[in-house]
């Protein structure tokens, strides 16, 4: 253990960590050394093994092989409580908070028993001042934005005075401005000698924040570098391998293209008490146009998709396709009218995990007489359709008999996109089209969407990935608390401006 990188005792050192899940080597012999006062980035694509590795460090998972030293002593955390007791805190991507309780109550639940809430509230205020984490201890969680909820999680960790703080994709729920505030807090924590392990796949913020970066690919460390002096292009290439990405769309939209799809004053109370009410949403799409809708998670994306796709009905006139009112129609009738949609969840929503690809090809195609006649399935035609999707969109493995859940996220998404595109819709609405998809498949999906627009389909892309929206869209708008900002041409927008729109200050600047 006399690595040249050690000057003083490392805070955490892992060597040769391996973790194998049925069918996949999630982490395959990873070494990692974290020093006191360091902000260390762990970067890699979805599925590279980042989450598994940090769950092992935090005691949520047990490694199959390898060893961990905490401040010089060999340890094996059997559960998160042991890791917390040693001085490790973790902020998860998905928060574990009780919506109906206050900030203080939520934090009290996570602490050992016997803290007076009044004293706790004072401590929370104290910490929030010290680290710039503005937060009112007495507000209920359901009234907080996702950025504020994240602060609750961070303060919950800080109350235990951790010497290593792990953050998993912390900015995925933040606007660019909120992210900047978080970075100030993290730098202050590091200056006190705490170590930050920062998990992300967003390279610009890693350049801005981190001292070192360890790059994971397919469960292995491919490189370790100083992100401040390494070019993002180089890091990206190490992260994903070489990928031919489509360049940004050159808007070729003709002003006289016919109006295809319009939404006028769409409002809807959420069915679920924790859902988001849609507030007076209006936009329109011309043939061949791609409109992007940005927004933080939980701003009303799933409610909007349900209303547009037809899973919930609204007033007929609020949604029009080729000037026909379709708002009151159910999914099947809207699809017959030429509107297709792809929800964000693949397994279990846009595909049935335990059915094969032939059967999954029918999921949105069962109304077509070519595939079903008189209530009886045409197996041959279904099979041929599935084979065409697989061939046209290079789905691997190229077998119609594979179960949907056996496919990787990228291949399944290519299959789903292919299925919807080959239905030749007039309007296609896609949510998070490349979420959790490897870079190669993402590029293929982007090319397919651009091609579809070229052929005259109107596209609506709902995504949290700003890079994706900037590549694809002619115009962009943002959702905030169930309301939609005005759409502006992408060419006139900067990331900062979109960030403001996502934060609800739509028409500022």
């Amino acid at each position: 253990m006399t690595g040249s990188e050690t000057h003083g005792t490392a805070r955490l050192r892992v060597r040769g960590i391996k973790k194998h899940f049925p069918g996949v080597r999630a982490v395959d012999g990873v070494d990692l050394t974290l020093m006191p006062g360091e902000i260390h980035a762990l970067i890699g694509e979805n599925g590279a093994g980042k989450s598994t590795l940090m769950k092992i460090i935090y005691g949520l998972l047990q490694a199959d092989d390898g060893s961990i030293w905490w401040e010089g002593a060999a340890v094996a955390f059997t559960d998160p409580a042991a890791a917390r007791a040693a001085g490790i805190g973790m902020v998860f991507q998905h928060f574990a908070l009780f919506e109906t309780l206050t900030v203080t109550e939520n934090i009290a639940l996570a602490l050992p028993e016997g803290r007076a809430t009044a004293a706790l509230a004072a401590d929370i205020l104290d910490l929030s001042k010290r680290y710039g984490l503005a937060l009112d201890p007495h507000r209920a969680i359901h009234a907080l934005s996702s950025g504020e909820r994240q602060r609750v999680e961070i303060i919950r960790c800080l109350l235990q005075d951790p010497r290593l703080l792990i953050l998993d994709e912390p900015t995925s729920v933040l606007t660019p401005q909120e992210a900047e505030t978080l970075f100030v807090t993290l730098r202050r924590l590091a200056a006190e000698g705490r170590t930050i392990l920062y998990i992300s796949h967003k390279l610009p913020e890693i350049q801005a924040l981190c001292d070192r970066a360890t790059i994971l690919r397919a469960g292995k460390v491919v490189d370790s570098c100083d992100p401040r002096v390494t070019s993002p292009a180089l890091m990206a290439e190490k992260m994903v391998g070489k990928v031919d990405r489509p360049s940004r769309r050159a808007t070729s939209l003709k002003a006289e293209a016919p109006l295809r799809f319009s939404v006028q004053n769409l409002s809807r109370k959420a069915g679920d008490p924790l859902g988001i009410d849609l507030r007076d949403i209006s936009f329109s799409l011309r043939a061949g146009e791609i409109l992007g809708i940005a927004g933080l998670a939980g701003s009303g994306q799933s409610e909007l998709l349900a209303a547009l796709g037809g899973e919930v009905a609204v007033a007929a006139n609020t949604i029009r396709l080729d000037d026909q009112p379709i708002g009151a129609l159910p999914v099947a009738a809207r699809r017959a009218a030429g509107l297709s949609y792809v929800p964000e969840e693949r397994l279990g929503r846009s595909a049935v995990p335990d059915l094969d690809l032939t059967a999954n090809a029918l999921l949105s195609g069962w109304q077509r007489p070519a595939l079903v006649s008189g209530g009886w399935l045409k197996r041959g035609a279904m099979q041929a359709f599935a084979e065409k999707i697989i061939a046209d969109y290079r789905v691997m493995p190229p077998k119609t008999g594979s179960l949907a859940r056996r496919l990787s996220g990228g291949n399944l998404q290519k299959f789903i996109m292919g299925r919807e595109i080959l239905a030749n819709p007039k309007v296609l609405i896609v949510a998070a089209p490349t979420w959790g998809v490897d870079a190669g498949a993402a590029a293929a999906i982007h090319r397919a969407l651009l091609g579809l627009a070229e052929a005259g389909t109107a596209l609506l892309v709902i995504s949290q990935d700003l890079d994706e929206l900037f590549i694809l869209c002619d115009r962009m708008a943002a959702l905030f608390h169930g309301g939609l900002s005005l759409a502006s041409p992408t060419a006139e927008l900067s990331r900062e401006r979109v960030g403001l729109m996502m934060g609800g200050v739509a028409d500022a600047a």
Partner: protein, 364 residues
């Protein structure tokens, strides 16, 4: 996401662990019901030993002796007909997560409707009596299953509870009828209806035995169920709804439509089974027209893996538990409840063994 690390059963240093399977071997799908059967027989042997009966002798008396002659086999068929017919109807709904637990009640109403027709046509029927009774039984079962369907789709009332509770309503209604309006005027006040006339009785397959041509209804239902499941859009809708409800919404399959279809098909099959019982082995309306066929058919459906052919085989197995317990009462002087205990054990082991489809057991 990988599944949770696994359940650990620790006992004196011997640790077993359940590990999620990535792939379920095909043979296992067929092997687990057999394993469940074997475990049931083993526990049954233990049970007999505790009751102070020689286990081997008892198992022989329960499972082998009753079917050692032609009469035994035909009686097996008599019990298997309603079990298979009801289970075939229920299995479609179970595939789509529509849980009709009230087939016993739908059977009872089917029997009442068919019996009502038979009594109305008493001594004035003809060849058309039986078809008319079948139609009445079918419609009765369908109408009775429509109640939980309506409650579920209109008021979101759980069909498990409503269909189950309606069973007791149906049974009490039948006992009211046979003690009141439909009581046999020449029956010395016994709570039962007139015996049906010859036109209203199912013809036997073999002269001198009770096995009747309801067998044909089972065959037709099994073939139809197989065709619907593998080749029809309806089967596809049921499968998708059962496997992934959100995907069914995405596809645009109407959820109320599925609920209505499943409950009505299940009710119709149970109602027809009720007609076959009163027109077959019973031959009149009695206070009780079924020894729990509607409930046992649930076990049949699962033991048969919701597969039409599997259900036909499983119906024979459960039918054996009925005639075995009848035989055990006579030859072994055991309580009639032994048969029910066997059915319960079997359901328990069938469900427990299904764990093996998703997990494997590993020594640590």
């Amino acid at each position: 996401m990988p599944p949770k690390a696994g359940v650990i059963l620790a006992k004196r240093g011997f640790r077993l662990r359940l590990e999620a399977r990535t792939e379920t071997p095909r043979w296992l799908i067929y092997a687990t019901p057999l394993l469940a059967l074997a475990l049931t027989v083993l526990s049954g042997a233990g049970l007999f030993a505790l009751l102070g009966v020689d286990p081997l002798r008892a198992l022989y008396g329960f499972f082998i002796e009753p079917i050692s002659d032609l009469y035994g086999w035909t009686e097996l068929g008599v019990k298997a007909i309603p079990l298979a017919l009801i289970a075939l109807g229920l299995s479609l709904g179970f595939r789509a997560n529509v849980w009709n637990i009230g087939a016993e009640g739908q059977l009872t109403i089917g029997a009442i409707c068919a019996g009502g027709v038979a009594l109305a046509l008493w001594n004035s029927g003809g060849w058309w009596s039986l078809p008319l009774m079948a139609l009445a039984g079918l419609c009765g079962g369908i109408a009775y299953a429509a109640i939980p369907a309506l409650l579920r789709t209109q008021f979101n009332a759980n069909e498990i509870l409503t269909s189950l509770m309606l069973t007791y309503v149906a049974q009490l209604f039948l006992s009211y009828l046979v003690t009141g309006p439909l009581r046999d005027p020449d029956g010395f006040n016994f709570p039962q209806s007139r015996p049906f006339d010859a036109d209203a009785l199912m013809p036997p397959v073999l002269e001198g035995f009770r096995l009747h041509w309801g067998l044909l209804a089972v065959a037709v239902a099994a073939v139809a169920a197989q065709a619907v499941l593998t080749r029809s859009l309806l089967g596809y809708r049921l499968t998708v709804t059962g496997l992934a409800p959100a995907a069914a919404r995405f596809a645009g399959f109407s959820a109320p439509g599925i609920i209505w279809t499943c409950l009505l098909i299940g009710g119709g099959c149970a109602g027809l089974a009720g007609m076959l019982e009163v027109a077959g082995p019973i031959g009149q309306l009695m206070p009780t027209v079924s020894p729990g066929y509607g409930f046992t058919a649930i076990i049949v459906a699962f033991l048969g893996r919701l597969n039409p052919l599997g259900i036909c085989v499983a119906a024979l197995v459960l039918a054996l538990s009925y005639i075995g317990s009848e035989a055990a009462q006579v030859t072994l002087k055991l309580s009639a409840s032994v048969g029910t205990v066997f059915q319960g054990l079997l359901l328990f082991f069938v469900l427990a063994c299904d764990l093996l489809l998703l997990y494997r057991i590993r020594r640590e």
